[in-house]
């Protein structure tokens, strides 16, 4: 059996150098998803593995007035442990709901965000929060919106030859922050995912509205969200019906299966209910 060669770089520059040299190297963040899905005593792994745990740049957590910077190697347990007010509520809640405690201490933000087969639970939350991610490669650094890590086919789109360094999450005040986990809570499967809805009101109208569902596919439609923005609160039945129809059409056009569309619509219904309850307070 083939033995993998492990590199443990201690700086970002060294990591990038290794990546250039070994294009097919497997980047090992927490590794929980890699090992979870290979139950053999000796898991089949690529010949080269680059372990990211000793790269200090990937571990840094910092904050300003406007945003929180999270190193890609922050553990999910760290995210939920930063405490109320230090992390946007939706992100803390999404992180706290992943797997069990023994897993959350190992699993990382980067690993969860860059799942190849499915979207991790942090993805819809970060996308709704308008988080941006910094990727580094030998040729430099670039920032991109987290939401762009979903392809047109609504499946994960993972950049290659680059490394996710950190994620910047803006602190915006939200009147509604709703996170709902779908499916079995203890580990992901084909029918599991996470829904996030964020909304903000101003002067009696809907000022901001975002709703996304991540799982095997990523369900979000900005045009429908835009249509809702500016509507008076509480939302009229016809506004809600029109938004629902718009989401349904958009997702059906893209070939999303009926169960996922139903889940999404049930989730936005709950969000609208929560908005109404908030407005009536």
């Amino acid at each position: 059996m083939r033995v993998s060669e492990i590199f443990t770089p201690t700086s970002l520059i060294e990591t990038l150098g290794l990546l250039r040299k070994h294009e097919d190297a497997l980047l090992w963040a927490g590794g929980t998803e890699i090992l979870r899905l290979r139950v053999a005593r000796r898991p089949e792994l690529p010949p080269t593995i680059v372990s990211l745990d000793k790269v200090p740049e990937l571990r840094a957590i910092g904050r300003s007035d406007r945003a929180l910077d999270l190193g890609a190697m922050s553990s999910l347990a760290q995210l939920s442990a930063l405490g109320e007010g230090a992390v946007p509520e939706a992100l803390a809640e999404a992180a706290a709901g992943v797997g069990t405690e023994g897993l959350r201490n190992l699993a990382t933000l980067g690993g969860n965000l860059l799942g190849r087969e499915r979207f991790g639970d942090l993805f819809p939350a970060l996308a709704c929060l308008d988080a941006i991610a910094e990727f580094r490669s030998a040729s430099g650094s670039r920032w991109m919106a987290v939401g762009r890590l979903a392809g047109r086919d609504r499946k994960p789109l993972i950049p290659t030859g680059e490394i996710l360094v950190r994620v910047r999450v803006p602190f915006d005040p939200w009147d509604l922050s709703l996170v709902r986990k779908i499916g079995y809570p203890l580990w992901p499967a084909a029918d599991s995912g996470l829904f996030t809805c964020l909304a903000r009101a101003a002067k009696g109208s809907l000022y901001e509205f975002r709703a996304a569902l991540g799982g095997p596919l990523f369900l979000r439609d900005r045009e429908t969200e835009t249509e809702l923005i500016g509507k008076r609160l509480p939302l009229q039945r016809r506004d809600i019906e029109s938004a629902r129809a718009s989401w349904r059409n958009r997702f059906e056009e893209d070939g999303v299966g009926a169960p996922w569309i139903e889940r999404f619509l049930a989730a936005v219904d709950e969000s609208f209910d929560a908005l109404r309850a908030g407005a009536s307070r």
């Binding site: 005593r41 079995y184 809570p185 203890l186 169960p259 709950e270």
Partner: protein, 695 residues
């Protein structure tokens, strides 16, 4: 290997039991579900490894269980994917696994029997029938007929530790350690396989954990495989399955299907039942007879039915052996009958509890064997306790009003009630003798030793035994010791199933102590007394019926389950469970309460979470990855009340009651919430969604 090394075998997990120089075992398994075994092509094994094939077995190549033989290693045919055809034995487990991966099993594949919806007579391993009165006549004059088809899926035990066994030489004896419910069965199987007298084998049961009746006979098979490896290599071996392999090849719960027709008379009471039921018992069907017998006896639930026609079949298919999981077949039929009761009550406009009370099996009503029922169950008290604890009537009325069809807003909620009985601990299938013994010895220091091969399974059961013995002889419980339940030293106390530890074994200990008490001041110490229960087989089966009194000393219990359908997924989630049980004499209330609560959690998990894909021809990694236990955080509050039965009532077996009545209560609740009939378990949100959301 000196025996002292294994002094704590009874409490040490198998994976932690090891001695220097110990060898390991891996199994080479059939890649296909059915066919003629042409041969096994082994790679070069090296000098320290060896293979064991069926032809190497010096004695009998079988474990016999309830009259059925299962091969230890397939010899000329394979009957399920994953059936062991050879063992590889050696010092390095990883090297063995690599050798196994390079081994080819040559099979001339045949089309497997996988569907038990349609089966031929040569697939029927056991059949049982019950006939009482004239059901045809009753149906012809019935004022209403209620029907239903029911299904209960296959499920996994999810042991605390996968199945395995340890075997090694202790001077001139072969010592076997495994987590078994039935040490003497292990001993006899191992002795048979090696072709040696049973006394040459000593079995020490290791911890079995929460086994859910999955360790009745399979540990004997694994012990015999480990013993063969030890015997042929003259070394100590440990054979333990990785969890994923255990999931694929060890027995699961038998799948169940039944068609029910119930006739109601002019007062809407049950006048006749026609039931046809089948259990998929997989390859060999090692518990076929007992399962089908119990399913048939359970077909009418706790109700009186003067005209009865029940036909039951245990059907063999080419899947891994399927058998017991928390009960031996009673639970599935009770689920079906309680759904019928619910429907009968609804069809006749009766209150569900009131209909059940009216139709309850009462003292003097005919049981399915024709024998009059001899007990009076405290049904009214039990039902009243359940209604009070759960606020059943108010909730049911309020949940019934929600108009789902009219688009009423969720969350949709439901509440359901169901009742069940647990038979006494005797086997009823027909061919297994019900004979058990325990022995006690009062020595000169006035210490009492209890010897029994029954596996207590928990500290509470040990305490019950010790305390009841101490009370009989006016000793301090600390002066009572329980000897390790090894074969040879301890008499055969039968398998630890069906709550026998607190019924039969506890009462045998008390009887033996009573004998000691009688002889106490007449004879010199030490005094040894043995008590044996030869429970006459409570049922004798004929071709179309049965005789006997299987319902004697049955315990009654009931459950209410309240649920809510998840607003999006429509997955039913329990929000409350209440149990009321008539336990007879209670040895230890806290223990009983905890056991019932734990059983309720497991039963609920089986109803709402644990699904094994219906393609059992070979459970793959996907089925393993997809198998879900109920998370601890999803367990609802559980209320329990015991209903006293008077001072002379015996201690009854109650540990299985939650498995018998929670499923139906759950299905009744989901049916109410969703406005559809839930007749198959486990229940999944997708299924509910498909049926209530117009497409």
């Amino acid at each position: 290997m000196p025996a002292s090394k294994l002094a704590d075998a009874a409490t040490t997990p198998l994976s932690e039991l090891r001695v220097p120089g110990m060898l390991h075992v891996v199994a080479v398994r059939s890649p296909v579900p059915r066919g003629a075994l042409l041969g096994v092509e082994l790679p070069r094994l090296g000098k320290d490894c060896r293979a064991v094939l069926a032809s190497d077995i010096p004695g009998r190549n079988q474990v016999s269980s309830f009259g059925v033989a299962v091969p230890l290693l397939a010899s000329n045919r394979v009957r399920y994917r994953g059936e062991a055809v050879a063992l590889l034995v050696g010092p390095d487990l990883e090297a063995l696994e690599e050798l196994r991966d390079r081994t080819s099993v040559l099979v001339e594949e045949e089309a497997p029997f996988l569907d038990f919806g349609r089966f031929s007579s040569d697939q029927v391993l056991a059949r049982r029938a019950l006939r009482l009165g004239d059901s045809e006549l009753a149906f012809s004059v019935a004022s209403r007929i209620v029907e239903g088809d029911f299904e209960v899926g296959s499920q996994e035990h999810w042991y605390a530790e996968p199945q395995g066994a340890f075997a090694g030489f202790d001077y001139d004896k072969l010592l076997v350690v495994c987590g078994t419910q039935w040490p003497y069965h292990v001993r006899d199987t191992v002795a048979g396989a090696l072709g040696v007298p049973p006394a040459e084998i000593i079995v020490r049961p290791g911890p079995a954990g929460p086994h859910l009746d999955g360790r009745i006979w399979y540990p004997s098979l694994m012990a015999a495989q480990a013993a063969l490896a030890a015997w042929l290599s003259r070394r100590t071996v440990r054979f333990i399955l990785p969890r994923e392999e255990d999931f694929r090849v060890s027995p699961k719960r038998a799948r169940y299907r039944a068609s029910y027709r119930a006739a109601l008379d002019g007062e809407s009471n049950l006048s006749a039942l026609e039931v046809s039921l089948a259990l998929n018992v997989g390859a060999y069907g090692p518990l076929a007879e007992e399962l089908v017998a119990r399913a048939c006896l359970g077909a009418q639930g706790v109700y009186a039915c003067p005209n009865l026609s029940v036909k039951g079949y245990a059907v063999s298919t080419d899947t891994p052996p399927l058998g017991s999981l928390a009960g031996l077949g009673d639970a599935q039929s009770n689920f079906a009958m309680e759904r019928i009761a619910e429907r009968a009550a609804a069809a006749s406009g009766s209150d569900p509890v009131e209909w059940r009370a009216r139709n309850l099996l009462r003292k003097g009503s005919a049981t399915p064997t024709g024998t009059p029922f001899g007990q009076t169950w405290p049904f009214d008290e039990l039902a009243a306790a359940l209604r009070r604890m759960s606020d059943f009537d108010r909730k049911r009325a309020s949940f019934s009003l929600a108009d789902r069809a009219g688009g009423a807003e969720g969350p949709w909620r439901g509440i359901g009630i169901a009742f069940a009985r647990q038979l006494s601990g005797a086997f009823v299938g027909g061919s297994v003798p019900n004979s058990y013994s325990v022995e006690v010895e009062l020595d000169k220091e006035l210490s009492l030793s209890i010897r029994s091969s029954a596996v207590p399974g928990s500290a509470s059961v040990e305490r019950i035994w010790r305390e009841s013995a101490a009370a009989m002889l006016a000793l301090d419980p600390s002066d009572v010791t329980l000897e390790p339940p090894a074969t040879g030293d301890a008499p055969n106390s039968g398998p630890s199933v069906l709550s026998r530890n607190v019924t039969i074994v506890a009462s045998l200990i008390e009887r033996a102590c009573a004998t000691v008490k009688r002889r106490r001041f007449r004879e010199p110490l030490p005094i040894v007394a043995r008590s044996t229960a030869r429970v006459a087989n409570p049922v004798t089966w004929t071709s179309d019926g049965a005789e006997g009194a299987p319902f004697e000393d049955a315990a009654l219990g009931g459950a209410v389950v309240e649920i809510e359908l998840d607003a999006w997924s429509l997955e039913p989630r329990a929000t409350g469970i209440w149990l009321a049980v008539a336990p007879g004499r209670l040895h230890d209330e806290r223990h009983a309460r905890r056991s019932l609560e734990n059983a309720a959690v497991l039963a609920l998990s089986q109803c709402a979470w644990e699904r094994l894909d219906p393609a059992p021809e070979g459970l793959g990694v996907e089925a393993y990855a997809g198998y879900r236990l109920m998370p601890l955080t999803a367990v609802p509050p559980i209320g329990i009340e015991f209903i006293p039965e008077g001072r002379r009532a015996p201690a009854r077996g109650i540990g299985e009651l939650p498995f018998d009545c929670v499923p139906a209560a759950f299905a009744n609740a989901v049916s109410l919430a969703a406005g559809i009939d839930i007749d198959a378990l486990p229940v999944e949100g997708e299924l509910v969604a498909e049926r209530i959301r117009p497409t």
